[in-house]
Amino acid sequence: MKAPLSWIKDYIDLDDLNVEQIAHYLTMIGLEVEGIRLVGLPKPEAERHEFNYEGLSWDREKFVVAEVLEVLPHPNADRLVLCRLNDGIQELVILTGAPNLYPYKGQGPLAQTLKVAYAREGAMLYDGHQPGQVLTKLKRAVIRGVESFSMICSEKELGISDEHGGVIILDADAPVGTPLVDYMGDAVFDISILPNMVRDASMIGIARELAAVTRRELRLPEGIPLPQGDALSKRVSLEVRNPELNPRFMLGMVENVQAQPSPYWVQRRLNLAGMRPIDALVDATNYTMLETGEPLHAFDYELLCKRAGGNLPSIITRTAKQGEMLTLLDGTTQPLDESMEVVADSVGPLSLAGIMGGMDSGISAQTQHVLLEAASWNFINIRQTLSKLKIPSEAGWRFSRGVHPALAEQALRLCLLRMLAWGGGRLVEGVLDAYLLPPQDPVVTLTEEEIISRLGAEISLEEAANILTRLGFTCTLQNGQLTAKTPPIRLDIGEGLIGKASLMEEIARIYGYERIPSKRLAVELPAPVFDPNLETEERIRDILVSLGLQDTVAYRQTSPQREARILPNQALDPDLAYVRIKNPISPDRTVMRRSGLATMLELLEYNSKFRPSLALFEIGPVFLPVDGQLLPREALRLTVGMAGLREIPTWQTKTAEKRDFFDLKGLLEAFLRGLHLPEVSFQPAEHPTFHPGKCAQVLSGEQVLGVFGELHPMVQEHYEFEALPVLAAELDADLLVALSRVEFEHQPLSNYPAMVEDIAVIVPEEVSAAALEAAIHQAGGKLLVNVRLFDVYRGEKLGLGKKSMAYQLTYQAFDHTLTDKDAATIRNRIVRALEREFGAVLRSQ
């Protein structure tokens, strides 16, 4: 909402406050000022400015009101004129190319002089000939043989609008010689209107708030008295079919008006408020809407008569019929349905109620008789229609937030006044007013104790009543209870407890949040409740970070196509259930992800062009729809990804080593040890994303934690990896959380020396390292405290299909020093077991 200061000042005296102070008041009562545009006024002096200023200040000496006495032709140019001008000090001749002065050329001294905004040499203003706002200094120049050093300004040059088609012709009563900034210097507040404060999307609303907080008088404008009589009812009939959707509908009428330009001050204000001036009639409805907050609509009465074909024109508000079409003022033709409220006549819809007028009945430059509508509409219904038709509409924006029906009357009276004043014409006696469903303005009670127990501030009932009264509430104080009746300007105050909360906000807002004390919570701490997931999730992050991995945060939104890239054939599975987004932001974000792997591979792909070595992880949910349930299961996944070299090569690196399966496995082993998961084991596994020979699943006991491996070469082809190989793991983080232990028994340390010896056994190729190691442990018993595989060897000497596995074994007892004999016993046990189970042959000792 753009609010020019000069307009607000129509209703409240603010001369002793500067722009900064006013903006501060507004912001601190909930009308946040997002920016201030200076349109003439100087930037105020302040120790600290809390707002962003833009725009132009008009120097008092350089910009004045002047009058053009005579317009003379230019000796050398048709498209330029010379103006004899009085700037209050002297008479000068000024050069200008403004087309709107041509008509006065050669008329001799003007009977009625033209008041203009005059800029002297050295004035800083916007260059009218350049796009946008380019600040420039007015310099002496010779144009077509005539010296020029000052100018008559256009709106663009003064920063009022981007209009540069002619110079500004001020209203006739503008005082010559007065500094322009005193006559019409302004500042425009760009105010963000909160959804519950639509009543303040109006100049009167803003002034009312300022009056309440600064304890000043609010001067409400007087419209014309409601015209009495029955002349109007003989010109048009009115029927409201659904009071629920249309609580009030008023009609007034002005005849023999002229669609002439509005006074300049009106045009200027509309421009500053962000609306284009059109003519007196349109301007009057827009001006009144900005002033009161009530959108109005004007019908061309003659068009209605034509449609009625000789009968009395009728206005009927009703819901549309299925299939009815309506061409709106913006030129679009909208299909209507039975939920949409329209203003119609006997022929068909005239306008989309509360949203936009129709093309066939609105006023135009030819209009002579205006039928003026001021109504109120059901805000939910308006919202539904807006969301169906998606039409940008100022009226719709307002009505969809709730406009009190009482405003219709105020706005009608003011708008009729403006139309008569700016467009001439004659008032038709009488109004039609179908006020079928007046709202019950809530009456809310409050006690001092209630105020203190919710706000924590010692605000007396008298002070509360005072604040509410200034906001328009009707207050009575009796027996320690405040009773406040909501004024008929707003619909945001609730009933009962909700009403109390609403009033509490009004009181606190105007009292000032900064005056409410700060207290520390005095209530006792609630009983502790822990979120073990969160704690463990953070522990998982810490362990992985300590292992050198980079944490990432990934998007949840993806597409089935993106996720299918992790499959060798990229085939979309039509049966795969996704949480599908109805209004996706783009074709590559149509569903909630199911796969952490797909996310990770994309992250690796993106980053592989930047680093030859990558190690990343991500923790986040995947979304798995569950049959028969409304909401998906949000399963927490941990994905780890590695690519490229084991280390980033430096000057010392002779040969850069690539990562392999065992880098990832080693990392997972260290990680899972960090979580103290019980009975971790690894098994060969199959997964479409991974190389069939380089893929494993990791288990804790019987439960599968997840799968990992090196990418399947066909999957790898779907991505542009610049660092290879690519290894990835996807683990069930919920399970990790559930199985991880923060309490466990430590391993005691022995004070007796350990014995270390190496053995190597030749076994068939198919014997897995895990099986072998398990058998060694089994046979070794308690005294075998460590088994470390240090060599795997294959060679001709061993024979085809054989391998040699060399282990370093550590024996240690807790109660004595082991002897060579003890060691031999254990070793023999192990060797015999391996012979028995795997046909192993001892290779060396």
Binding site: N52, P195, R401, I452, E514, P517, Q557, L630, I648, Q652
Partner: protein, 344 residues
């Protein structure tokens, strides 16, 4: 002076002179064998003592001893000199260019958003708050209706929402639905909790706007909780997060699920309030929205609003991280560009 004594004196002079010229440990060893070895003149003098006349023996013996001691101590000095020289040479030889880069160690890091989130959680934990989480895919009821936004409530416009193909199911636009979940779990116990999590809004993806971001919701429910309690708690939070001298202010705002509602600004930590690009010239940075829990929300949560009151607040982790590091493009956070992440 006997001949023997003179010979010994000469031997000493010669030996010491020879020692002077020695530069290597090998040379020194040869010298030692020649002048202090078994067959050296000095040692020879000792073994020849018996052959001398009795009266000469003490004189020659003493002389031999003196020479031997002199040579031995000269040897020791020389030996130490050579060792030092050798060490010097070795150390010089082993000198490296310490300005060469060190071996690369890959350090793991938390994502900057998770860093900020952790800090915020830690501050609230220190203040006695518990942590509670709830789903990211939500029902319309939890996301809107129970938060005092029945269908077609104007405030629904405040959040551009992603809907799913299931009726009444959407991607939560804020962490506030968690308020209802935790209230329904805890009622009528009182609550002092924070609710962190990812939320999603239908926005165009630009340098300034994201479709996914992390929020932290604060919720206190109990008997006699006041606006002043909210102000004090959030001021405390700001002091812990932004420094004890950080100035804050509350100004009125609107959220459908709180009333009265407020927005908290902290003095811009970039310019100190002077006005800059980050604070758009205002000297203030908006850090959170807050308010007293709306009676309707309390009721939906299972608390009697006559008896209970509370406050709630919500803050964006992405936005505050963005401001803190003056990140010029919010999309950096979820692009996970390693060149970006490595800076934190």
């Amino acid at each position: 002076m006997t001949d023997r004594e003179t010979q010994l004196e000469n031997e000493k002079k010669e030996a010491l002179a020879a020692l002077d010229d020695i530069r290597t440990t090998e040379g020194l060893e040869t010298w030692r064998i020649a002048h202090l070895g078994k067959s050296s003149p000095v040692m020879q003098a000792f073994s020849d003592l018996g052959k001398l006349p009795v009266e000469e023996r003490p004189l020659v013996g003493r002389a031999a001893n003196t020479v031997k001691q002199a040579l031995e101590s000269a040897y020791a000095v020389k030996s130490e000199q050579l060792r030092q020289a050798e060490l010097e040479r070795t150390l010089t030889r082993e000198r490296i260019d310490v300005t060469l880069p060190g071996r690369a160690v890959q350090r793991g890091r938390l994502h900057p958003l998770n860093q900020t989130l952790r800090e915020v959680c830690q501050i609230f934990r220190d203040m006695g708050f518990q942590i509670y989480r709830s789903p990211e895919v939500e029902t319309d009821d939890f996301n809107f209706t129970y938060l005092n936004m029945p269908p077609y409530h104007p405030a629904r416009d405040m959040w551009d929402t992603f809907y799913t193909d299931k009726d009444g199911v959407l991607l939560r636009t804020h962490t506030s639905p968690g308020q209802i979940h935790i209230m329904r779990e805890r009622a009528p116990e009182h609550i002092r909790a924070i609710l962190p999590g990812t939320t999603m809004r239908y926005e165009q993806l630009t340098a300034r706007s994201e479709i996914e971001f992390i929020q932290v919701e604060v919720l206190v429910v109990g008997k006699g909780i006041t606006f002043a309690d909210m102000k004090g708690t959030l001021t405390d939070f700001a002091a812990r997060a932004f420094g004890k001298d950080a100035r804050t202010r509350l100004r009125p705002s609107y959220f459908p699920f709180t009333e009265p509602s407020a927005e908290m600004d902290v003095e811009c930590f970039v310019c100190g309030g002077e006005g800059c690009n980050v604070c758009k010239g205002t000297g203030w940075l908006e850090i959170l929205g807050c308010g007293m829990v709306h009676p309707t929300v309390l009721e939906y949560g299972g608390y009697d609003p006559q008896e209970f009151s509370g406050f709630a607040a919500g803050m964006g982790i992405d936005r505050s991280t963005l401001m803190r590091y003056r990140v010029d493009d919010i999309r950096h956070f979820r692009n996970n560009d390693i060149r970006f992440l490595e800076q934190f």
